[in-house]
């Protein structure tokens, strides 16, 4: 076991552990915070894998934007701040079975397939320069399409969250409006 492997294993344990906390914690806000930890550990993992640019984008967008967005969502839905008992549905045990089965199948397959694959880590694979050149040269069309998609998502989000347009009565917020 080499040095990067040890570091990656530690980071992976943190990411997986905090992920488990995300899906098991009884406090909504804590779940979001554990998510930050998981994403941060993943970003560290990217760094170990020499994908620096992706790592920074991960920190910027996921930790900086998405989690904040989720926190806003928690706030706007007036979720309870303290512990709540009923964050898990009755489906829990079935879900656990399915998740374990998924993990079993995936891990088995990956270990069977890539037991001997070894990656020598060199520093130039994830540099921003090469990545940027690749994006704006080879992948420029998907990039532009993605920008249109973002715009569409933006418009959609606005339309969905505005209450003064559409067929719905703005005054009715009592659970009968959209039936």
């Amino acid at each position: 076991m080499t040095g990067p492997e040890v570091v990656f294993t530690l980071l992976g344990v943190v990411a997986v552990g905090s992920g488990i906390m995300v899906v098991t914690t009884r406090q909504l806000v804590h779940a979001a915070l554990w998510l930050v930890v998981s994403f941060g550990a993943l970003a560290g993992g990217y760094l170990v894998l020499t994908a620096e640019f992706v790592a920074w984008v991960q920190v910027l967008i996921y930790v900086g934007a998405v989690v904040v967005l989720l926190l806003f969502g928690i706030m706007l839905t007036r979720a309870p701040i303290g512990e709540s008992e009923d964050l898990d549905s009755g489906n829990r045990w079935v879900a656990l079975g399915v998740a374990l089965a998924t993990a079993g199948v995936l891990v088995t397959v990956l270990v069977m397939g890539f037991r001997d694959a070894y990656t020598p880590l060199k520093g130039d694979q994830g540099a921003a320069e090469g990545l940027g050149a690749s994006i704006f040269r080879t992948w420029v069309l998907p990039f532009e399409v993605l920008s249109v998609l973002l715009l569409a998502a933006l418009v959609g989000a606005i339309v969905l969250s505005r209450s003064d347009i559409g067929p719905q009565d703005p005054a009715s917020g009592n659970g009968k409006g959209n039936r």
Binding site: S89, N91, V94, A95, G97, V98, A101, T102, V105, V109
Partner: protein, 704 residues
């Protein structure tokens, strides 16, 4: 010729449809077309049209209202759409039937034509007609009686709200009977036979508002249906045995068929005949059928329904001749029917029921004639009976409408008030009794003569001495044949083919004697009940509360017109050797008739106000109930069948229905189980999807 015959059938048929579809509209159109109405319509009293227990089957509207309507109806014949649609085609059909009959008379012989051939895969069905002397004469009689009934009904049913459909059904009835008469194919004949059954159902139940009437209609339908099943199977047996349903083919091939087949077929046919012609033991529907309007009774009794049975026996006589078993059965049934129903007629209080039992009795006389081999005489009697029975029923209808009652004890002394009806009815009753020189005497006498012959001389065909090929003589004949070893059957076939005269196997001697004695007893009884009817209706004091006066002209004159053939039809029989009256039997019959009539007169003369039948003492209720045959059937057939039906219903409810419902419930429960996963929760759906994916992936991985 065939075209004329088919036209004769089609005309009433089309008339029926025209009547069904546009009878009332036609009437409106005619009324609107007339420039000025003949007179103001008499204001209708809505209360007058009340359907209570209907004497004579007419809507009881009160004699006055009815008479006014009848007078209006006969005064304005051109404004009565349904009546026009019914009577004019009927008249045309009568003319056509007369032309057909005349042509056949001029050049006798059988004419057959096939309109179309329906392939069935095995035995083809020939939609064909066949006209010979028998068919032509009977058809003419049917047309005449039907025309008389239609014309009579115009006045009789003047106040009936459903006159249009009534007249149309009469037309359909007549068309069906004509189809039976002219049919050249057994299945075609059966079609007409069945249509008649349906029409009789509708017409007997014309006033279905009354529960009794609809029950009578159902009874008539079911009882005749019972016979029809046998009839149908008899047809099948004959058709398959002969390889063809054509009547002439069947008759030609009967000798080649096995004896048992023919006998069984004949017995099955007899079941149908007994049903339609109201012979014992299927006779019970006929007296109940009196619930229908009186002209319908006339039609059923004189022209159509009941005549069809006798006609079919005459038509398929070859089948019956082959074995003596069928003829014996026919003869015995005829004797039971004629004596029993004549006794029953003696005690009836209802004028229509007297006539109904008289019809059974007279039909039995014809059947007896057929049983002893006197086919011509039987058909002759069928014709004369058609004329005088139609006359009697129509006259009875007039009496009923005038008197407002069906019951003999309400009549009396009508001869002065209703002279035309009285005279006509006298002729009719004289014909019924067989008083010379009215028609009934000739026909009945020739049957008695034939029976006497059969009883005294044994196995000899009275009608065709030339074709005296009874079984007993067959060996002698075959011995004379040059080709030795020729089977007897071929011989019989050849002789049949050469001379269509009847080959009479003869009924056993005791049957012939039974028939002969039965006929004589019947003559006496007939005279007795006819005299009773005549005396109680037209003589003595008027016992009911009504104003006796002559029926409306159109009715009275129709009846009078029928009196002419009733009186003189007998003389047409003088042309044929076997129909001429014979002195011995004629005198005997006359003596017996005088005895019966004299007895009735003496009883009546003691107390003209009382019913001569009262002298029967304890026998009277037995006779009045027709020997309780109905009660017997009720106990033996109806109740067990009803009980069985109830059992079946219960089995259906508790067993089959429960099973079906249980299946439904089980399916629902199973569906409910399957529905549990479909609870609307997307998480469980997704769980299922992912679990499925994992399972598939695991299977793939493991199999790798």
């Amino acid at each position: 010729m065939i075209v004329l015959a088919s036209l004769t059938i089609l005309l009433p048929f089309l008339a029926a449809f025209a009547g069904f579809l546009l009878g009332p509209k036609l009437s409106e159109a005619l009324r609107a077309g007339g420039a000025t109405p003949a007179g103001p319509e008499p204001p209708e009293d809505p209360r007058a049209v009340v359907f209570e227990k209907v004497p004579g089957g007419g809507p009881r509207t009160g004699e006055r209202v009815w008479r006014r309507a009848a007078v209006v109806a006969e005064r304005t014949p051109l404004r009565n759409g349904p009546a026009l649609a019914a009577c004019l085609p009927m008249a045309a059909a009568t003319v056509l039937a007369a032309i057909v009959a005349f042509t056949v008379w001029r050049s006798p012989g059988e004419r057959a034509g096939t309109l179309t051939l329906v392939g069935t895969g095995s035995v083809p069905i020939r939609i064909g007609l066949q006209v010979d002397g028998l068919a032509a004469v009977v058809a003419l009689m049917v047309c005449c009686v039907a025309l008389a009934v239609q014309v009579y009904s115009v006045a009789y049913m003047a106040k009936d709200p459903r006159y249009s459909s009534y007249a149309a059904f009469i037309s359909l009835f007549t068309a069906a009977m004509l189809l039976v008469v002219y049919a050249g194919d057994l299945l075609l004949l059966y079609v007409g036979w069945e249509v008649m059954g349906v029409c009789s159902y509708f017409l007997i139940g014309h006033h279905w508002e009354n529960r009794e009437n609809s029950r009578a209609a159902v009874k008539a339908f079911l009882v005749t249906r019972l016979g029809d099943v046998g009839f149908l199977f008899g047809i099948f047996l004959l058709g398959i045995g002969a390889g063809s349903f054509r009547i002439s083919d069947v008759l030609q091939r009967v000798p080649q068929m096995p004896d048992t087949t023919v006998t069984v077929a004949a017995l099955l046919l007899l079941a149908g005949v007994a049903g339609k012609s109201a012979q014992f033991p299927l006779h019970t529907w006929l007296p109940d059928a009196m619930a229908g309007p009186t002209p319908i009774s006339a039609l059923i009794h004189a022209a159509t329904m009941v005549a069809a049975g006798i006609y079919v026996v005459a038509r398929l006589y070859g089948v019956f001749l082959t074995g003596s078993a069928a003829l014996t059965v026919l003869g015995v049934l005829a004797v039971i029917s004629m004596v029993g129903s004549a006794l029953a007629a003696l005690a009836q209080d209802d004028i229509k029921r007297v006539l109904a039992y008289s019809t059974i009795s007279q039909l039995a006389v014809m059947a007896a004639g057929l049983a002893v081999g006197a086919k011509s005489a039987a058909i002759f009697h069928l014709l004369t009976h058609g004329a005088f029975k139609a006359l009697l029923f129509l006259a009875a209808g007039s009496v009923i409408m005038v008197a407002g009652s069906n019951l003999l004890r309400h009549y009396g002394g009508l001869r002065r008030a209703m002279p035309l009806t009285f005279l006509s009815m006298t002729v009719g009753l004289a014909a019924l009794v067989g008083i010379p020189p009215v028609s009934g005497w000739f026909s009945k006498d020739s049957i008695i003569e034939a029976a006497q012959h059969a009883a005294l001389d044994g196995h000899r065909a009275p009608e065709a001495p030339a074709a005296t090929l009874s079984r007993a003589h067959l060996p002698d004949l075959s011995a004379h044949m040059p080709v030795s070893g020729t089977p007897h059957r071929d011989l019989v076939a050849r002789s049949l083919a050469e001379s269509p005269g009847p080959l009479w196997p003869g009924v056993p001697g005791w049957t012939a004697w039974l028939i002969y004695l039965g006929l004589l007893v019947t003559v006496a009884l007939t005279a007795a009940y006819a005299a009773r009817l005549w005396l109680m209706t037209f003589f003595g004091e008027t016992r009911g509360e009504f104003e006796p006066r002559e029926a409306p002209k159109i009715m009275a004159w129709t009846v009078a017109a029928l009196a002419v053939p009733s009186a003189i039809l007998g003389f047409f029989g003088l042309g044929a050797e076997e129909l001429r009256p014979h002195l011995g039997s004629a005198l005997l019959a006359l003596l017996l008739a005088a005895l019966g009539a004299g007895g009735a007169f003496l009883l009546w003369n003691r107390d003209p106000a009382a019913d001569p039948a009262g002298r029967l003492g304890p026998l009277r209720p037995v006779f009045a109930n027709a020997f309780h045959v109905d009660t017997l059937y009720d106990a033996v057939v109806v109740r067990p069948v009803l009980a069985l039906a109830r059992l079946v219903v219960r089995a259906d409810d508790r067993g089959i229905d429960a099973a079906v419902l249980g299946t439904g419930r089980a399916a629902r429960r199973l569906g409910g189980l399957l529905r549990l996963p479909q609870n609307g929760n997307p998480q469980t759906y997704l769980t299922g999807v992912l679990a499925g994916v994992v399972v598939i992936a695991a299977v793939v991985v493991i199999s790798l």
